[in-house]
Amino acid sequence: MANPVQQFEIQPLIPLHIGQVDVSFTNSSLWMMAAVVLATVVLGMASKKRALVPGRMQMLSESLYEFIANMIRDNIGSEGRRYFPLIFTLFVIVLMGNTLGLIPGSFTYTSHLVVTLALALLIFVMVLIIGVIRHGFHFFSLFLPPGVPTWLTPLIVPIELISFIIRPVTLSVRLFANMVAGHIMLKVFASFSVSMAAAGSFWFLGAAAPMLFNTILIGFELLIALLQAYVFTVLSCIYLKDTIHIDH
């Protein structure tokens, strides 16, 4: 049976070094670029015509636009408009990573913790920097909710602090774990099929069962891919809300 984690291995395609740092162009980089090109071309073409009555492609791009716009309005408010391109890019890059990864033989860059962590840290660092710039010292009142009795302060502040610091970890691990688990499951069932088909005449018939299951599973994985991109983006919105207004 093929190793189910082999699909996550990175192969360098074009070796590249900046100083001492190895930044080779790998299969991961390839699929990132594929996502960039695909998203740019599809959305670029879809939004070029700007027809009064939209075609299918334009409808798609406009629905995506409205979807993200509504998400920002609901979670951040009208002031969240400034983050629109950022949230949109974040959603598209995660969505592309998740869905392109479902193509057999492709590479899922969102199944790498370092990638999801980088994206989560981007949001985290932004919240911290912009929050402190905009609110000054008041930003740290985030760690002390209003109405907390004074004697509880030493307990509440560390809890709030930890829950704030843990944000990028939970955000990135959620996406990473979902992608890894789904892909391993697909691979395991696919290799069941392959080894059954190779085992002989009787087992050949049984090979259909895991394949059928995989067919259902891949639909399910598609749902997970969309859902996790949505969850990642919504949580980023909720975190970014702290840079706009602190409730207390």
Binding site: V5, F8, E9, I10, P12, L16, I18, Q20, V21, D22, V23, S24, F25, T26, S28, S29, M32, M33, A35, V36, A39, T40, L43, G44, S47, K48, R50, A51, L52, P54, Q58, S61, E62, Y65, E66, R82, Y83, F84, P85, L86, F88, T89, V92, I93, Y109, S111, H112, L113, V114, V115, A118, L119, L121, L122, V125, M126, I129, I130, F176, V180
Partner: protein, 211 residues
């Protein structure tokens, strides 16, 4: 707005590159993790580096071109729809005004028509009545004249009849008994007979007239 948007973009890129070098530092200290390839730090720096490039590229394209395009298309459509709705509203109002004016006009004309009709009816009634009256007067006169003429003719006829009857009676008497009867006697007898017969006839005449 634009300045803050650029700031967001640059801070995104900066923090990603920052993280990239931090990841590289982790490679030096950690070494091989084993198990999942995700925990092999060899490619951490490369991954983050290319992610930063991809993210920045996508961000720039979206922020500069794609998103403004989409939003302008949506805005244009919304404006078009709003102006269309506005036009519809003004046209509807115009149509309602016209309808109102038409109805008012219709009511006016109906009232005028009713007035004309009643006037016409009254004048026609008057004319009909007057001509009816005239006609009746005329007919009454004619009837009276005719009745008188008839009466006269009847009286005359009766007189003639009396004369004839007297003559006939005288002639008859002469032939039967061969004597000349006095004309005066005969006349008185005849007139007494005719008076008797005419006493019943005028009564019949009046009942016929009433019917």
């Amino acid at each position: 707005m634009s300045v803050s948007r650029h700031f967001i973009g640059y801070s995104a890129f900066a923090s990603l590159t920052l993280f990239s070098s931090a990841a590289h530092a982790a490679v030096d200290s950690d070494g091989d993790a084993g198990g999942l390839p995700q925990f092999d730090p060899t490619w951490f720096a490369s991954q983050v580096f290319w992610l930063a490039i991809s993210f920045t590229l996508l961000y720039l394209v979206f922020a500069r071109k794609t998103l403004p395009n989409i939003s302008s298309a949506i805005d244009r459509r919304r404006q078009q729809i709003e102006s269309d709705v506005e036009t519809t509203e003004t046209l509807t109002k115009e149509a309602e005004d016209v309808l109102e004016a038409y109805e008012a006009r219709l009511k006016e004309s109906q009232a005028a028509a009713r007035l004309i009709i009643t006037e016409m009816e009254q004048s026609l009634k008057k004319t009909a009545e007057s001509s009816h009256d005239k006609f009746r007067e005329k007919t009454d006169k004619t009837i009276a004249k005719t009745e008188k003429a008839i009466e006269d003719a009847k009286a005359k006829a009766l007189k003639d009849v009396e004369g004839v009857a007297v003559e006939v009676a005288a002639a008859t008497a002469k032939k039967l008994i061969d004597t000349d009867v006095d004309a005066k006697n005969i006349k008185s007898i005849v007139s007494s007979i005719t008076k008797q017969s005419s006493a019943s006839s005028p009564k019949k005449k009046t009942t016929k007239k009433a019917a």
